[in-house]
Amino acid sequence: MGPTARYLLRRAAMAVGVLWAAFTVSFVVLYLLPGDPVATMASGGLDGEPLSPEQLDELRARYGLDQPLVVQYGTRLWDALHGDFGTSIQNGQDVRGLILEALPPTVQISLAGLVVAIVFGGAVAMVATYTRAHWLRQVLMGLPSLAVSLPVFWVGLMLVQVFSFGLGLLPSVGANGPQALVLPAITLGLPTGALVAQVLAKSLSQALDEPYVATARAKGVGRVDIHLRHALRNAALPALTVLGTVVGNLLAGSVVVETVFTRPGIGRLTVAAVGIQDIPVVQGVVVFAATVFVVVNLLVDLVYPLLDPRIATEAAR
């Protein structure tokens, strides 16, 4: 087995381990912390009528909660390995089905947010490292810390205030048409773009100090060319490593953004499930989010050695 294969195998094993642990953490939080999940389920139920002890016992039996915890854990882990996260206690629907159904609008808004993040973050980092005006650099590098200091839901509401109610340009709620995507994408993309800007600016200014930049400069390459063709190409690679965090941010941001803009999706599904203590749905979403994070990081790990062969050899050493 070559060093690259060994490196990839180790990364894959680590990813599986993290997923198993994420499942376990969510099991401990959701099934162990409350005294009696069925009582909370019943009190959070929609019909509002208190259940009799017999009904509670029946519910316990139906969800397997009358069994010892170890058995419950084993059963749920086995089911989860087969992609089965149980059924929603609210409407009895399959949790996997609910998540898959809520996925497309969230993917849509996350992709739009990612575009905003890359454009905003990339532009800030590029201009801040290119400009020779000290004040402009100060202002630009202040933007990311400003963007992460504002409450995301408030930014969304203020955008609605100005562009929907004030200027009447864009719809305030809903998921119809591309116009309805603009404000949610900006809201979601700004804090993520701040992260991109910080990481990219750091690796860009590092790249600009490298000897190959001095060489290019000595050969008479223009500043723009050095920036775009030499520094950016090398600096973009380290920025790729935060992609997992970026995607995780976008997914987590959907909770607030989908609520603010009344859009369907994973975020709304989660908020509704927490509201009625729909434990299987919440666990499904948590494990799903961890899966996305782990898979994106694994993909980055797989692609990275292809883009930068130094990594694989270093890791194998």
């Binding site: 912390l33 810390s145 200091s149 839901f153 205030q161 607030v256 908020v271 203590q277």
Partner: protein, 304 residues
């Protein structure tokens, strides 16, 4: 002997902690230095004043806003900001300024609890991992990796599902979700301090491990961990307010910054100030806290 070593090395080893004031400096010299430092940074002064006001609002709201935040004059409902009501009134005629000031109490309490949970739990994890090493270190740090793999908001939501609604539960949920960063910093600090000469000296004279931990490791790790705590304070305000905005905080009519914005959302078309003012309060607080944390972390030590 150890005492002496601790002080010397401790002062020299922590230039970024802001505590590295030369021992020889008199009180007056220190005061002069502080004033000079502040005079060159008007933004920092504004931040400190604002945070002080928020603290007053949190612990003695009646000083800044003597009226009852939950009593309104229905005839004065939805009035725009003006002379009578600086930040206008809400849909029940309650003064928005009074509600924002009183809202600081619940929001800040939750934030303090959240940071305390993260600091204590994360600190213990890091201390244990860095001090015991071996499989304990390995196990704890893998656990921290898992916490980082689950987005903080979702981890908090899972905890709220289990614990139920309320300001304290929201605070605990936010705190647990930020354990990871404290554990990491505390661990690296503990590892660094373990290798230092004064810990070696303490061990060679037969100091017990818990004394070493208490007298040497904890005080020297405090600096970087406190910087993180101040930074975390800003993040926790944001996390607490968004969970309160989603409706998991204190039940109405209690004012909380996040829930004030959620209430105001229904009147956005006619009354912009209901959302704008509490949100601006959150943003200003977070920006001020971040400015102060930047001053503590490095700026102070660098400005000689």
């Amino acid at each position: 002997m150890t005492e002496l070593l601790v002080r010397e090395v401790g002062a020299g080893a922590a230039p970024g902690s802001g505590t590295a004031v030369p021992v020889a400096a008199s009180r007056r010299e220190r005061l002069a230095r502080l004033l000079r430092f502040l005079r060159q940074r008007p933004g920092l002064v504004v931040s400190i004043v604002f945070v002080a006001l928020v603290l007053v609002a949190a612990f003695a709201p009646a000083v800044l806003a003597p009226a009852d935040p939950n009593v309104g004059v229905p005839a004065d409902r939805l009035q725009a900001p003006g002379a009578a009501h600086v930040f206008g009134t809400d849909y029940l005629g309650r003064d928005v300024y009074t509600r924002v000031v009183h809202g600081a109490a619940l929001s800040l309490q939750a934030t303090v609890i959240a940071v305390a949970v993260a600091l204590v739990v994360g600190g213990l994890f890091g201390l244990l991992a860095g001090f015991v090493r071996g499989w304990v270190d390995e196990g704890l740090m893998r656990f921290v990796d898992v916490l980082l793999a689950i987005p903080a908001v979702l981890l908090s939501l899972a905890l709220i599902t289990a614990l139920g609604y309320g300001t304290v539960n929201v605070a605990i949920a936010v705190g647990v979700a930020s354990v990871a960063s404290f554990a990491r910093v505390m661990r690296s600090e503990t590892l660094r301090i373990r290798q230092s000469v004064y810990v070696e000296a303490a061990r060679s004279v037969g100091t017990r491990w818990y004394v070493t931990l208490w007298r040497h490791v904890l005080p020297n790790a405090a600096g970087p961990v406190m910087v993180l705590a101040v930074l975390e304070f800003g993040l926790a305000i944001l996390a607490v307010s968004s969970l309160s905005f989603l409706g998991y905080g204190a039940p109405p009519p209690a004012p909380e910054w996040g829930s004030l914005i959620a209430e105001g959302r229904n009147y956005m078309a006619t009354a912009w100030w209901l959302c704008a003012v509490p949100g601006a309060a959150i943003a200003a607080t977070v920006l001020s806290v971040n400015r102060i944390s930047r001053a503590i972390d490095g700026e102070w030590a660098r400005a000689r």
